[in-house]
Point group: C2
Chain length 248, copies 2
DNA sequence: AACGACGGTTCACATAATGAACCACATTTA
DNA sequence: TAAATGTGGTTCATTATGTGAACCGTCGTT
């Protein structure tokens, strides 16, 4: 792995649940030597992507990240504009809704609104979803240009779990169904007991830039519920597209 | 410079005014070879800190930055909580107000609310302010523990402009005055024609974590105005402290 | 006082980064 | 038209950079 990759992997160890980590722990989790981890951390700290708590000597993410994220967000306000719509969709359906953004050939989960119910699906921000085998990915492909879809399906399709669909022809079929309906549907396709509805969010050029997905426990969903979730998801996705592209 | 430093310096080239940059341009601005810049960009893109627009082939900041910034922000919601207060202070005083966060031995400007007036002071988000020679820095030192102040003043004090104060004894005097008043004041200390009032924002342990500053054209400020700006700045800084530490 | 954890440092060694020269392509200039 | 200049991207011998085992000192526990 490149040195830069290692440095970024250190940043990725910080989570909502564990926002401050000590040196030894950090090195262990990243699979790096303590000296190496420290050198990388010092380089990151110099650029303010990492900070060190002066008394506990633990490390945390730095203010420079907030700064860079603000620049990106001003230019590309996807999460900021989409979050309230995602929230409304979660309230309307009573289920967990997650928002993903297309980045580097996959979907990155950038926002989650959890269901208020006790029995709910939990999704973590930061999770990377492959385009194949997840309802979000299928919805994304269904909204993509045909040549993009076939180029993707011709490439290598790594199975991410035992449920992952890797046969190009079956994927193509799922994509076609999603394209005709406007949303994708999958019962237990990605994880045991989870039912998902996915819809694509379009950018100004008509190409998809991300997705949202309604994730429910299978026990709460029948065909009628799925259909109403699908329609609601389409409406929400379109609303986000409209807000992003300026009423286009 | 370390490889990691070079990679981060590439990220830092993106600004609000120029959020997308091509490879050659990026390499030139960073002072790197094109091949080197590209390798670093690919490493960053793999971790989603950089994205490449597929048609124009230009690069921009990636979604991974938003993700990391969210984690930091949830743990340390400085900007989120302070921004509305800064906004109110800007409206109340009619002047530009900027918010800085202490990070790695200096103050990083993380938020700015510009004055609505035509003749106003402009401040850029991302600017790094040294602790000496800026009103924000003096206010920060004035709120720091005495041993921290003397340790800092004993270290090397680089002059950042011809106006920078580098004599420890004069700085100490300015710090003492700021400590007794609760805010710092500087007319043209940092930049020609700019009058500034700075106030420190305290964290839960009583130590300063950042500052806010009211920046006005000197022509609009006399002693009475400065005093009222100072009182308003103190109130705003305290309000942020209270909100941050949970009504403490 | 002996132990084990911590954060941090050193330096001989090896790997990973470097950059001049090179594509192919698109605009602009002569 | 054809040369010139720009772009993004690639190659590979050279070398500078990153690496990690072993080493501090310190802290809190046993």
């Amino acid at each position: 792995m490149s040195t830069v990759g290692k440095a970024v992997s250190l940043l990725e160890l910080f989570t909502l649940a564990e926002p401050e980590i000590g040196l030894s722990d950090l090195a262990r989790k990243a699979g790096l030597d303590k000296a190496t981890a420290r050198r990388l951390l010092m380089a990151l700290a110099e650029r303010r992507l990492i900070e060190q708590e002066s008394q506990s000597r633990r490390y945390r993410l730095g203010a420079g990240l907030s700064r860079l994220a603000r620049i990106r967000d001003a230019h590309f306000p996807f999460v900021r504009l989409a979050a309230p719509v995602v929230r409304d969709l979660s309230i309307e359906t009573g289920e967990t809704v997650h928002l993903s953004e297309f980045s580097a050939g996959a979907l990155l989960t950038v926002h989650v609104e959890l269901s208020a119910k006790a029995n709910r699906v939990n999704v973590d921000v930061g999770q990377v979803l492959p385009l194949h085998g997840t309802p979000s990915g299928i919805a994304f492909l269904a909204a993509s240009r045909p040549e993009v879809v076939s180029a993707y399906l011709d490439g290598p399709l790594q199975p991410f779990s035992q449920h992952t669909m890797t046969q190009p022809d079956r994927l193509m079929e799922a994509v076609r169904l999603a394209a005709s309906r406007g949303y994708s549907r999958s019962a237990q396709g990605y994880e045991e007991g989870v039912h998902s509805i996915g819809a694509a969010i379009l950018g100004s050029d008509g190409n998809p830039i991300g997705t949202l997905a309604v994730a429910s426990p299978v026990s709460r969903v029948d065909d009628a519920v799925a259909a109403s979730q699908g329609e609601a998801a389409i409406k929400a996705a379109r609303l986000i597209s409209v807000r992003l592209t300026g009423e286009a």
